[in-house]
C-alpha cells in the first residue's frame, strides 16, 4: 500500500502582486488492494450506510462509521499517511506554510487529526466555489470509483472559469493546502460519485491562557 504525491502547483494567484495568495496542490495516487477488492463496490452500493446531509439538499451523504467493516478498514488505512501529509505540508515550501502555520513542524506533530470521511454525492449535487474552514490545514480527496470528469474544480478569485479540475480516476485524487487561494467547487455531478475525503486539522493546546 503506497500513496504517491506529485506536486502540480506551487505558485501564487496571477495578479497577486504582494504574494499573499499561494496555491500549493498535489495529485495523489493511492495504491492499495482494497481499491481492487470486489467488496468495495458492493459496500458502496448499500443504501443503509449513508447519512444524507440536509444542508446539501440530501444530495450528499456521509458513510455512517462502523456500518461497514470493509469501508471502516479502508478509511482507517488512509489515516496511516498522516506523517506523510505532515511532511508534505511542512517540507514542500517552508515560506508558504510558515505564513499559515507559523510554528515548527515538531510543534504541530502529535496534535494533527485526520478524520477520514467517505462521501456519496448524488446527481446534481454541487458546491459553489468556496474556501474551507480555517481549522483545516490540508484537504485530500481520493476517488473510490471511476468518477469520470466529476473532479473538484479550482478557481482564481477573479475568474469564473476553473484553472484546474482534479482527476476522476479511481484510486487517484488530489490534495491542497488550505490557503486564501484554495478556491474550489463541485458541479456537473451526473451519477453517484464516491470519494474518500480526508481533511487534516490541527489541535493545539492553549499555551498562554
Amino acid at each position: 500500500m503506497t500513496l504517491e504525491a506529485n506536486k502540480i502547483f506551487d505558485e501564487y494567484v496571477p495578479r497577486d502582486i504582494h504574494h499573499v495568495q499561494p496555491i500549493l496542490m498535489w495529485e495523489l495516487e493511492w495504491k492499495t488492494d482494497l481499491l481492487n477488492d470486489p467488496q468495495l463496490e458492493t459496500e458502496l452500493a448499500r443504501e443503509d450506510i449513508w447519512v444524507m446531509e440536509s444542508h446539501h439538499r440530501n444530495l450528499r451523504g456521509y458513510y455512517d462509521r462502523k456500518s461497514s467493516k470493509f469501508l471502516e478498514k479502508l478509511a482507517y488505512e488512509f489515516t496511516k499517511y498522516k506523517q506523510q501529509f505532515t511532511d508534505m505540508v511542512f517540507d514542500t515550501n517552508k515560506r508558504t506554510i510558515g505564513h499559515y502555520w507559523a510554528k515548527p513542524k515538531e510543534y504541530y506533530s502529535g496534535h494533527l487529526f485526520m478524520p477520514p470521511i467517505i462521501y456519496k454525492d448524488m446527481p446534481t449535487f454541487d458546491m459553489v466555489p468556496h474556501i474551507d474552514s480555517s481549522h483545516i490545514m490540508i484537504q485530500s480527496i481520493i476517488n473510490l470509483v471511476d468518477n469520470g470528469d466529476m473532479g473538484t474544480e479550482f478557481y482564481y478569485p477573479d475568474s469564473h472559469e476553473p484553472f484546474y479540475k482534479s482527476i476522476g480516476t479511481k484510486g487517484k485524487g488530489g490534495a491542497f493546502l488550505n490557503t486564501h487561494a484554495s478556491i474550489h467547487g463541485i458541479r456537473n455531478i451526473t451519477k453517484p460519485r464516491y470519494i474518500l475525503y480526508v481533511p487534516m486539522f490541527f489541535a493545539y493546546q492553549l499555551e498562554t491562557k
Binding site: V13, R15, D16, I17, H18, H19, V20, Q21, V51, Y62, Y63, D64, R65, H99, Y100, W101, A102, H111, F113, P115, I117, V128, P129, H130, I131, S133, S134, H135, M137, Y155, P157, D158, S159, H160, N178, H180, I183, F201, F202, A203, Y204, Q205, L206, T208, K209
Partner: protein, 216 residues
C-alpha cells in the same frame, strides 16, 4: 488600575472586492478606541519609556521589542484589563457577518466564546521597523492594534492583493486602533516607522481542538 477601561468599535469596511467574483470573504475592518484615565496618565509614558522592560521580539528586521510580562505593574494591569473584552471581540466576529464567521470557523459561537483565548502584547517598534505586506497566520481569527502613544502617521496599512497602493491606513492617534478579521483580503503592512511607536497588539486565537467538531 485600568478599572475604567472601555472599548468602542466602529465598522468601516464590510465589502466584497470587485475582483472577488465568488464572494468568498468580505473585508471586515473596524476602527477602535480605548478609553481610561490611566491611558492618559504620565505614568503610562514613564513606564513605556523604561529601558528595562523590553526584549527583542525577533520579528521583522529586529527593530521590534516586546514588553516583558511582570516587569511593570501598570502595563501588566493594562494587559490583564484588556482581557475582559474577549467576549466583545468574539461577538464582533460572529455577529457582524454571520455567513463569514460560520464559513471560516464552523462551530457555534458559544464554542469560541468558551475556548478562544487572547494574549495582549505590548510592542515597542523602533525607527526603521517594518513588515512587508502579509496576511496573518491561521491561528489568528481577529487582530487588533491600539496606539499607546501618539503614533502620528505610523498606522498599519491595508492592501488588496492586486493593488500597489494601500486602500486604508489605521489611525496613529493615541488610544485609537484598528481591528480586522483574518480571512480573505486582509493583507497589511507596517512601514515608515520614523519614531518610537508603542502599540497594544491583541489577537483572538483559534481554540483548542475538540473531538465534537466532527459529528461522524
Amino acid at each position: 488600575m485600568f478599572d475604567d477601561l472601555e472599548l468602542t468599535t466602529n465598522k468601516i469596511y464590510d465589502r466584497y472586492l470587485d475582483k472577488d467574483l465568488h464572494k468568498l470573504f468580505p473585508q471586515l475592518i473596524w476602527e477602535m478606541s480605548l478609553s481610561s484615565n490611566d491611558l492618559n496618565s504620565e505614568e503610562l509614558l514613564t513606564e513605556l519609556n523604561r529601558e528595562d522592560i523590553w526584549a527583542l521580539a525577533n520579528r521583522g528586521n529586529n527593530l521590534r521589542y516586546q514588553y516583558i510580562n511582570g516587569s511593570s505593574v501598570l502595563l501588566d494591569s493594562l494587559n490583564q484589563s484588556f482581557k475582559k473584552f474577549r467576549p466583545q471581540l468574539i461577538d464582533l466576529m460572529f455577529d457582524t457577518n454571520k455567513q463569514v464567521a460560520s464559513q471560516a470557523w464552523f462551530m457555534p459561537k458559544d464554542h469560541y466564546l468558551k475556548n478562544c483565548h487572547i494574549d495582549p502584547i505590548i510592542y515597542k517598534d523602533m525607527p526603521g521597523y517594518k513588515m512587508s505586506v502579509h496576511k496573518d497566520n491561521s491561528h489568528i481569527m481577529l487582530q487588533t492594534l491600539f496606539n499607546l502613544s501618539e503614533n502620528g502617521s505610523m498606522g498599519t496599512e491595508f492592501f488588496n492583493s492586486n493593488e500597489t497602493e494601500s486602500f486604508y491606513k489605521g489611525s496613529g492617534g493615541k488610544c485609537k486602533g484598528v481591528c480586522f478579521l483574518n480571512v480573505g483580503e486582509s493583507a497589511h503592512i507596517i512601514r515608515d516607522i520614523t519614531d518610537v511607536r508603542y502599540i497594544l497588539y491583541v489577537a483572538v486565537y483559534m481554540p483548542t481542538w475538540a473531538k465534537q467538531w466532527i459529528g461522524s
